[in-house]
Subunit: 394 residues, 4 copies
Amino acid sequence: MSEAAARRPLRVATVGYAFMGRAHSQGWRGAPRFFDLPRDPVMQVLVGRSPERAAHAADTLGWAEVETDWRRVVERDDIDLIDICTPGDTHAAIATAALEAGKHVLVEKPMANTLAEAEQMAAAAAAAAERGVLSMVGFTYRRVPAVSLARQLVAEGRIGEVRQVRCQYLQDWLADESTPGSWRTDKEKAGSGALGDIGAHIVDLTHFITGQRVAGVSGRLDTLVTERPVAESFAGLSGKGGTEREPVTVDDVALFTGELAGGAPAIFEATRFAWGRKNAMRIEVNGSAGALAFDFEDMNVLNYYDAREPARTGGFRRIIVTEADHPYIEGWWPPGHGLGYEHGFVHQVVDLVRAIDAGEQPTPSFDDGLAVQRVLDAVERSAGRRSEFTEIPE
Amino acid sequence: MSEAAARRPLRVATVGYAFMGRAHSQGWRGAPRFFDLPRDPVMQVLVGRSPERAAHAADTLGWAEVETDWRRVVERDDIDLIDICTPGDTHAAIATAALEAGKHVLVEKPMANTLAEAEQMAAAAAAAAERGVLSMVGFTYRRVPAVSLARQLVAEGRIGEVRQVRCQYLQDWLADESTPGSWRTDKEKAGSGALGDIGAHIVDLTHFITGQRVAGVSGRLDTLVTERPVAESFAGLSGKGGTEREPVTVDDVALFTGELAGGAPAIFEATRFAWGRKNAMRIEVNGSAGALAFDFEDMNVLNYYDAREPARTGGFRRIIVTEADHPYIEGWWPPGHGLGYEHGFVHQVVDLVRAIDAGEQPTPSFDDGLAVQRVLDAVERSAGRRSEFTEIPE
Amino acid sequence: MSEAAARRPLRVATVGYAFMGRAHSQGWRGAPRFFDLPRDPVMQVLVGRSPERAAHAADTLGWAEVETDWRRVVERDDIDLIDICTPGDTHAAIATAALEAGKHVLVEKPMANTLAEAEQMAAAAAAAAERGVLSMVGFTYRRVPAVSLARQLVAEGRIGEVRQVRCQYLQDWLADESTPGSWRTDKEKAGSGALGDIGAHIVDLTHFITGQRVAGVSGRLDTLVTERPVAESFAGLSGKGGTEREPVTVDDVALFTGELAGGAPAIFEATRFAWGRKNAMRIEVNGSAGALAFDFEDMNVLNYYDAREPARTGGFRRIIVTEADHPYIEGWWPPGHGLGYEHGFVHQVVDLVRAIDAGEQPTPSFDDGLAVQRVLDAVERSAGRRSEFTEIPE
Amino acid sequence: MSEAAARRPLRVATVGYAFMGRAHSQGWRGAPRFFDLPRDPVMQVLVGRSPERAAHAADTLGWAEVETDWRRVVERDDIDLIDICTPGDTHAAIATAALEAGKHVLVEKPMANTLAEAEQMAAAAAAAAERGVLSMVGFTYRRVPAVSLARQLVAEGRIGEVRQVRCQYLQDWLADESTPGSWRTDKEKAGSGALGDIGAHIVDLTHFITGQRVAGVSGRLDTLVTERPVAESFAGLSGKGGTEREPVTVDDVALFTGELAGGAPAIFEATRFAWGRKNAMRIEVNGSAGALAFDFEDMNVLNYYDAREPARTGGFRRIIVTEADHPYIEGWWPPGHGLGYEHGFVHQVVDLVRAIDAGEQPTPSFDDGLAVQRVLDAVERSAGRRSEFTEIPE
């Protein structure tokens, strides 16, 4: 009997096979190849509304079967975990049903489109946890090794007390006015625009790296291009538009300032209009004894300034986060042989499977997801009230 | 007769000989050596309250005489221009008196400590201008070649319509809690902290590069270290403190979002607590057809993204701004032989002397300085009203 | 019947499961998940001398069976392709036997340890090709998208005529004197040190990107640390040494200058002693109309200077090579979601499977591998003759 | 009496007022304004063959008088120091005459066009030194603060024992074939091309930073564009050519490998054909305990890797060399307010005046200049003998 067979299987069904479905599939496929897992993920069912397209995707991505209705999968006895990769407006329904049916849940971010949904999901997760049913939100950027290292260094006191945070998430895929609209520019489907799509990431990173939550914000939301061509075809995030036009009902740019629970001021920008910045998710944390800076455009690097070093020989250190003792690197390659975007999805599976096996709450939990949602909601409310500072309840 | 003698002199008196006085002196000394000037600056008088220290400074910096009271200099017939390098609380009095006495005026930024003073100065400047007496504010960063080039490219339409601005001015010289207080941490003397000292620069840069003024802001001001040792000695911006302590009455960090006159959202941060960032004055402007990015820590470079270039070969271009046809470079060295901080002060003198000779308003004018002051004032008012969005009158 | 089943299988046996075996396995596993392949790779057999360790590796990496002797696999009828991931001293024997047995062959670089072996392998490959049996050398760095784009841009004339090449391959994993010896520091096993291990890559990249071969060299080889601890255990490239010591019989640093077939001068450095440089494989090509620069430490970026652009707005463009029309990107993620080290192994499988299906010679061929070997051999001969310039026969 | 008057004057005559004459003038003018000098430089005479152009230059640059024949200046009693800024073919004659006449001498690099001249000059300098007459070569890049800091850190053992050196000096001002010829492309005037002009700098930097001399080299010299238009006018290094053409008799590219006195291998490239690299003078030194890297295109930064730091938090530190305790910075600005190209010329004057006042040999001495010349000569001889390794006598 092979070793894999000896491990208890973890039978997975994933709902959705677009961008996120593909990335999650790579996570499920890759994790057992590079890491020692206590349970063996089985890629059982891929769920999609179109049977033909779902079958094609399942074949390509490595899933054993397809279903067209997520409700049926939730009812199946032979599924242990539901992985939700659909747009945000469906998250609450699927996650709640799955948790109630005793399935572990992994849900892509943003956890939900509204605060009410997020609260309902967090309550469902808390109830499920009492029955040993676990849940996690897919903020995979936490699992970029350089980001995990940042959190470790903060926790170790390497930058002292956190004093300030600055974050940017800069993309440019909507900067071209001829890029067509999509569910991502439709408030009904997406909840919000840059704010929920990418702003959510930098809020979560702030929570993760500093260990503190955002406690209040003052925000503004701007829609720079208010109408776009209706899409005739799609390719990745982009596509081809026709002559018809549709309104953009979400924000293109979200700007907010705020403070952490410990009082440290923080500043955030999320935009899809920053020409030339393709996926520049950046965070810099200033402490009383140093600083850390990360930019996803240089994702294998963490910059660290140690203020205890004399100024004469001090400077931001460009740590190439590919050493054997860096987070997650034991599964990969020698120093300098960097990782890419989808490796975070592999690490997510590793951590999730280990937590499930240990019966421990994986992170980020639905509570963590709710915390992000509360910040996004506060930004929206502040933006609706002339940027007035808006506290965020615990 | 030498050529210099043939040019009409421009007799200058400078008030103050600390950091800014030294930098301005270098401007006056250097400009005629590298550029063809229509008038010949004569470094006539250095003004300082202590006769010994002023005499020593005058000797070192190249001034012919010293005076201890700026009022006497304002009254002298043999002075054409008063250059004001003292702390902000003295600017209004000196500038107004000088303009009334028919002296051209160059005043270091921030133009004034309060909006009322700035308005009074702008009125004085307007009245003086009718009599041919000219005035200018010392926002020298406008004259970094890469910054001037940025303005040219925006004006030429190289990035299309301005859509977004993001600015940071990051320093770390107050991050060490043992750094003593100084006039810069005293609201009476300095007016404000990071906001007026370095925030003023990024507001002016935004005005200069985009050609649009900030029309409204939502801001917050934080003081991270509320007490500092009283200084026993100084060296540059830093110094040695004793056991006594004094309160910090200014902001350490200023964060604000806002919008330009044309509606483009903008985001600003000024801090002296960003460990490892020594003088990172950064501005990035996103337009409908491209983007520009500048960081003073790489001051001879302007990054330019041309969105008209196909994405396959597009990317931020690292323009090394040392070519003969770049702004101000004709006076200096071959390509790649970069300039430093104080060159902006030389360029300031070049532009000021040429404007005076031509009888034209130099820029930035006191009106430009007032515009910055109005933004700073609005940030302070917004910060006092829970970050409420605050319009800035034209 | 599923689509995969409809495709003809390509049954693969891989010899070796250390660093390269793991990377190749990921190539075989991943290629059909991200790319449309005309044949379906079947991961049939993993070959390793220790049955237990091979079985464990096969289980982890996803191979169906194990064998302990590569000779048996070569004789099997149900294997279409032999993938050789063992140290260089075994390449010639395995590759030649496999080709003679009608198996397609993929062999890791360096193709062989000696020029004689490489010549024999190239002859075997030529003979096999006449029977439709194909072969390829694993210079996977060619398949980093930014490197492939560099070749395209040169071929399109975007930098004009090639005038100069400068290459560096800088690592630091032997810089620590306490790092134990291994087969990589043993001339018998490895053939040479930095020269064959990493110097080979930059020679191949030069051939690939410029489309010209190195025609002559002047070289020197230095061994900086002549003795190392005997290894007691290994972890990646590094390990723990005991108190016994063994000689280092290969070069630590290889330096050579030379010229391309078209006469362009070129300069090369390969070292494992460059502290802080983890895997800095760099190539810069200067042409008559522009330049290209690549550094593996920033592997998703190609820097391009277009000399036809006026100097005023010219500068190295940082092309983030993640656009849909960049090489290989159609299989992956949206712009800015970069790739990592092992993606090149996926691309290698894609290109190899497509070539086999089309019955076309894949590249780099054994002839390409031989060309690199001739350069390495010439460097060694030159180094043995006081760096005298040594021509390389076509 | 002013303090300046109290200091003994050092009366200077500078020969030449082109690029280097302008830079040296700035050195003489600026040094006493920013640094405390024991003697007061007096800018007495500017020497140029054309009286009109010399007079104009003297007026602009701040020299009191002009002479048209350097011989007359050498004979004057009221001159203490001759500063030689003419092309290399005149250096030996002027320097030797000046030294014999008891004048201190500063000579721009390269010290001479031939080894014989350099030897003669070094002998003259040695003889003069016995009479208290001092001499110095103008390798000003030694006085870039980041370069001086590099030397300090090596001397302090911060990178351990020097193991390897890699240098590049990349420019692109001859990459355009239509750039006209000049004295710099004429072997008679310039001695050599890239080798002597910019290769000399990286050899001297190697000597300076490592404290070891290059002991042997293997080199090649290439002329990539063998004919250029005859210049009709000049602007900086560039100019406008007509229809007539002239041969290029110097190297465009110099490549050489070699070893230091202590046995460390080293590699060097000097080129004027590296499109997009404007003045990229780069040196990286690898030691047994760390590494240092410098690039003049980021001249206020020194990158330092400390191998004693655990790999987990290790990385190249970007030291911004503008702290008060960094070399030469005490004369300038607060941290982050960087210096430019010509500041090295100010520092050169500071060090020279202090050495003269102290009666101590300034560095780099003519012996140091001769050492560089010997390396250049050995490269040329090696290049003429199929790159054969050529020892350099002490």
